[in-house]
């Protein structure tokens, strides 16, 4: 009896462990492996994204930060197939995104959506709000006639607008309202994963909070997963569970957002975080601001070895010869730097 109980308990444990493993595997909604995107401009090749590896778990928000031109938006656009990848794989829900065709591609177009940066450019000026939001439904044949309009009204209400806006044109709305229409358009096809490409950087600060809070609420209600691309570090910290830092087409560090902000490991992250303004003059005075030397090198001809070495305050000999390995230094804390190898 006792023996049997024990055996059963052990079996139970094993089962549970297995379930956990399965769950952990299932939980990865997006797996990006060594993604590269090079653009040909004349005879030159711009290495906009050069070998980026990360995973996004279902239901989380992964922030992606970096200065202008570091390839954040290119990553986002390559993930959703606006650009075809030069190399590497994007696995979404267990399938390679760049190999999809036919019905599977349509399914993917529904499951992954994007919110854009410029609310003044992201809505077709010749279309009514009704048709803008319903476009996804029209393409995928989700609803027609009254049902279509009813669902659009529901979506409008979800994002804080109402029925009276249906017949209006985009130019009649403010930036924040337009951005919410853009969000409603993305939601219309009931996606699981939304890439937000600097959704708030073109908005006033007061409106930024409105939009970010709306996104947070929608995530809770609909179990959405976000890839949040931005350069506003404090906003990224507020919305993200984990944050990845990019520099010149590479990911240099990826960690839980609290950990990253408390204990940045990569010298670039340190420098970046030291530039975040602190709303307390006393603290701000005593804080040491790390000012990097020089400019970002050109992605046409990036430095050998570690791409950050030309500006790194802690540069070593090895940095110019060997490309630092992307690895998990601590639990859930990835970094690519020779200081930690």
């Amino acid at each position: 009896m006792n023996q049997e109980n024990k055996i059963q308990a052990v079996k139970q444990e094993e089962l549970e462990a297995k379930k956990k493993e399965d769950k952990a595997e299932q939980d990865i909604i997006l797996d990006v492996q060594n993604l590269k995107k090079h653009f040909k401009i004349g005879r030159q090749i711009v290495q906009a994204v050069d070998g980026v590896t990360f995973q996004v778990r279902r239901g989380e928000t992964l922030g992606l930060v970096g200065e202008s031109g570091c390839g954040k938006s290119t990553v986002g656009r390559t993930l959703i197939r606006l650009y075809s990848a030069t190399d590497g794989k994007v696995i979404f829900n267990g399938e390679d995104v760049h190999q999809l065709k036919g019905q599977k591609l349509k399914e993917f177009n529904r499951k992954m959506q994007m919110i854009f940066q410029d609310p003044y450019a992201s809505l077709n000026p010749r279309m009514k709000v009704l048709d803008i939001i319903a476009e996804g439904m029209d393409i995928h044949g989700l609803a027609t006639g009254e049902e279509r309009e009813k669902r659009v009204v529901e979506l409008l209400e979800t994002v804080g607008l109402n029925k009276s806006h249906l017949e209006r044109y985009p130019h009649e709305f403010s930036g924040g309202q337009r951005q919410r229409i853009g969000i409603a358009r993305a939601l219309a096809v009931e996606p699981d994963f939304i890439i937000a490409d600097e959704p708030i950087s073109a908005l006033d600060v007061s409106i930024q909070a409105q939009v970010v809070n709306l996104m947070k609420r929608l995530q809770k209600e609909r179990g959405l997963t976000y890839l949040f691309i931005a350069h506003d570090l404090s906003m990224v910290k507020y919305i993200s569970d984990r944050v990845g830092v990019m520099y010149l087409g590479n990911l240099v560090e990826l960690a839980d957002s609290d950990k990253l902000y408390e204990e940045p490991l990569h010298p670039y992250t340190e420098a970046l975080l030291s530039a975040v303004p602190i709303p307390d003059p006393k603290v701000a005075k005593t804080r040491e601001r790390i000012i990097l030397q020089g400019d970002v090198p050109s992605p046409i001809n990036p430095p050998s070895g570690c791409r950050f070495r030309t500006r790194c305050p802690k540069v070593k000999d090895i940095c110019s010869q060997v490309i630092p390995e992307w690895k998990e230094i601590k639990e859930n804390h990835w970094v690519a730097c020779h200081l930690y190898s």
Partner: protein, 315 residues
């Protein structure tokens, strides 16, 4: 006497922010075309053009039936009659006089205007259709498709228009359709370039990307997102293509490649009139004035539409 006012805490209530009211748009919705019309209406030059064109169009429909005879009936005893104010107003006599074969110039001018306009409209429509199609395809697909089409356009650009038209008209029998076709085939190049440039600008706009991420087909993107947004330049192109075609048709008729007599177009009538210019100037002046007025009004309307459709282009 001063009255003291008691201020209590109860009198001060925080104003409730009504989210719905905040999002309300009080102004009536002004659609794109309404807006265009409002700007167009205020443009005096364009309105003059509209009035002039309306008058000419009125007479092209009504005029031929107001004449004494039809456009090809000859009355050799009444050659080269000059018009008088009296006959013009009363209509008892030939209003515009007669030409050197004794044909009613009034009927001939308006009939010729109609033929010229038909050729011009047909040519403009064919030209725009071809130019827009090639332009959108070239701009939207880009890459090798764009390269090939652009090289073809460059080659065609280097061939003088007149030679192409003359060669085409030698092969085809001159008539309304062949002339319109010949004009369209040589004049679509600038339209294609304008449309291509617009599409290149628009196709990287975020709303086009959004449509792509939603899985929209190429066809849908071209017709729902790109074309409606280049409609402005297209309309302007049409408005400038029409007077160009009218002028070109007149030119072809003048050098004897256009409409064949006894059919009349403005070019044919001007050509006939030019022979008697020193003796009977009215035979040239009247059709020339109609031609000039028509081209002027199309150009005025085109200018007005350009400003109305794209206010940023205004100086």
């Amino acid at each position: 006497m001063k009255e003291s006012v008691q201020l209590t805490k109860e009198m001060f209530q925080p104003v409730k922010m009504d989210n719905m009211a905040q999002n309300q748009i009080s102004r009536p919705s002004v659609g794109f075309w309404k807006d265009v019309w409002r700007r167009f209406y205020r443009n005096a030059g364009a309105m003059i053009g509209v009035v002039l064109l309306a008058i000419i169009l009125f007479f092209t429909f009504i005029g031929p039936s107001m004449g004494k005879t039809d456009y090809q009936t000859q009355n050799l005893s009444l050659q080269d009659m000059e018009p008088t104010i009296q006959s013009l107003i009363s209509g008892d006599d030939y209003r515009f006089g007669t030409d050197n074969l004794g044909r009613d110039l009034w009927t001939r001018v308006w009939y010729g205007t109609k033929i010229s306009l038909m050729i011009a409209f047909l040519a403009a429509i064919l030209e725009i259709a071809l130019g827009v199609m090639i332009g959108v395809i070239s701009g939207y697909f880009g890459g090798i498709v764009d390269d090939i089409l652009q090289r073809v356009i460059e080659v065609l650009y280097s061939i003088p228009n007149t030679i192409v038209v003359i060669l085409l008209l030698i092969v085809f029998e001159p008539g309304i359709l062949p002339i319109a076709l010949a004009l369209a085939l040589t004049n679509w190049l600038p339209t294609a370039r304008v449309v291509r440039a617009q599409v290149l600008k628009l196709k990287s706009q975020e709303y086009v990307l959004a449509a792509k991420t939603l899985g929209a087909s190429h066809f849908r993107i071209m017709f729902k997102h790109l074309l409606p947004n280049v409609i402005g330049p297209i309309i302007v192109a049409i408005m400038f293509a029409i007077p160009t075609a009218i002028f070109y048709e007149a030119f072809l008729s003048f050098i004897g490649l256009g409409i064949r007599p006894p059919e009349a177009s403005l070019g044919v009538i001007i050509n006939d009139g030019a022979k008697n210019l020193q003796i009977f100037p009215h035979e040239l002046l009247i059709p020339a004035i109609v031609l000039g007025t028509m081209m002027l009004s199309f150009n005025l309307i085109g200018d007005g539409l350009r400003d109305a459709l794209d206010p940023r282009m205004r100086k």
